[in-house]
Amino acid sequence: MQYETVIGLEVHAGLSTNSKIFCGCSTKFGASPNSQTCPVCLGLPGVLPVLNEAAVEDAIKVALALNCQVSPYSKFDRKNYYYPDLPKNYQISQNYLPVAFKGYLDVPLEKGTKRVGIDNIHLEEDAGKNIHGGGADAGESLVDLNRAGIPLIEIVTQPDMRSLEEVEKFMISLRDILLYLGVCDCCMEEGSLRFEANISLRLEGESRLGNRVEMKNLNSFKMVSKALQHEMRRQGEVLKEGGHIKAETRLWDEEKEVTSTMRSKEEAHDYRYFPEPDLSPLIIKDNWIDRVRKAMPELPRERKLRFSREYKIPEYDAQVLIADKYLADFYEDTVKLFPEAKMVSNWVMGELLRGLKERNINIEECLLPATHFANMLNMIKKGAISGRIAKDVFAEMLDTGKEAEEIVKEKGWSQMSDEDEVSRIADEIIEKNPQSVRDFQGGKEKALGFFIGQVMKVTRGKANPQLVNKLLKEKLGKLK
């Protein structure tokens, strides 16, 4: 019996507004602890929160990009719980009437597209930061409330994803939309993009959902993948042994690479939501939505069309490139310096993506600047290195961040374009292989390929292939 995996995500994105959602404190990351707080975000008695207009506009932008309906009438609620990073003892969120609902995102996959439904998008405030360990001694935790009150949108998907690939591609597509919109810097290390995943298994063909496990503490794309992979296996094993999956919250332990049950005490949710009386309802009329729509920046789908049009590259290339904003930026930066668009896309999709995958890094972590890449492509074009050698040079560039020219000099890899030397090597090989010469004379065109291969082998790929081709044809032609 085969199990089907059912996955839904909850995504928290910290908005890139200048000020917090309900007060004028700065949202800048990395400030001295508790230096960006005021009576409102400290939760002192008698203060009134006032909603930041820019946070609403950002939420509308995301709603439009995710094909959601923007709620004409939405409001805020208090979510009550006690935790030291939440000074008011409630979080202002939108439980009953969120700012947007019912949308979808079409996610490009390796093969085809997957439509992932969006249940709702709501606005809320972030909590502060607790520090355990580090500066905190045993028996104490420290609290920094600079983050308390930073605007968040929470994007809740439908449980539509069925595989790791779909989850991974969804996260990338969503991150790219947020980046393209400029509403979130999506810096996972700083916590501005956070994921929670709900996962359950069911027998293939079954329409009811199995008991779901909610997973927290997923602070990078890789952690989401690893945690889901682990949880798929764990649930599959439990079910195969006839066991029962408990609906619970599990934490991902990055060091041990396992998930474990959160203490039920922490899990016993009873948030006692009620309407936030200090904030007025939010009414969003069509003219406001239209104004936001007109000011929307280029989204991935539009960028893809522009790539096909502007750079005249195949649709497939454009899709691969725009599927990662940073990869697409890298491509455009390179093409600006080296305007052979198709050659650049071949290299990006081939050697670059393969190189990144082998090193298990993404383009932002990569040491290679677009200028170095463009310079290397130029060396190929000018014949300073062969395409074959360029691949080795490129691998070195990825590892060291050095310029191609420097690497070629260090390793003595420059292309052999000296006609006399290549000619001498070609003669030697022709002399050593009389049988292949006869084959060629007998009309076997393939034999030419054999000779070219031999010359390249002897020169360790450094010979200029056009030159080799030309010389061999001349020489073998004369022998006829």
Partner: protein
């Protein structure tokens, strides 16, 4: 709706209140009286009435996205029962 002693215990726990047995009895009784009073509303026909979330007729009270000066760190920490450096200090949360 009848509030049981367990309900009182649960609500008290969520509100971080420590109640004596007598208090649980007493507040349970009072809560039941309050609910019984509110239940009178059930006698009304509210078929065409929108749920009220706010009693003040205001909408879209918004502010521009402008940074205003925050409190100084000293002011922010002034009321903290305990502090360490520039942080609030609390009993350890995670075991």
């Amino acid at each position: 709706m009848k509030i049981s002693k367990d309900d009182v215990k649960q609500v008290a726990r969520l509100a971080r209140l420590r109640l004596t047995e007598e208090e649980k009895e007493k507040f349970g009784k009072q809560l039941n009286q309050i609910l019984a009073y509110v239940e009178k509303l059930n006698e009304l026909n509210i078929e065409n009435v929108e749920p009220t979330s706010h009693v003040v007729p205001l909408t879209n009270v918004l502010r521009k996205d402008e940074v205003k000066p925050s409190l100084s760190e000293e002011e922010a920490l002034a009321n903290a029962p305990e502090r360490k450096g520039k942080y609030f200090k609390v009993p350890k949360i995670i075991e």
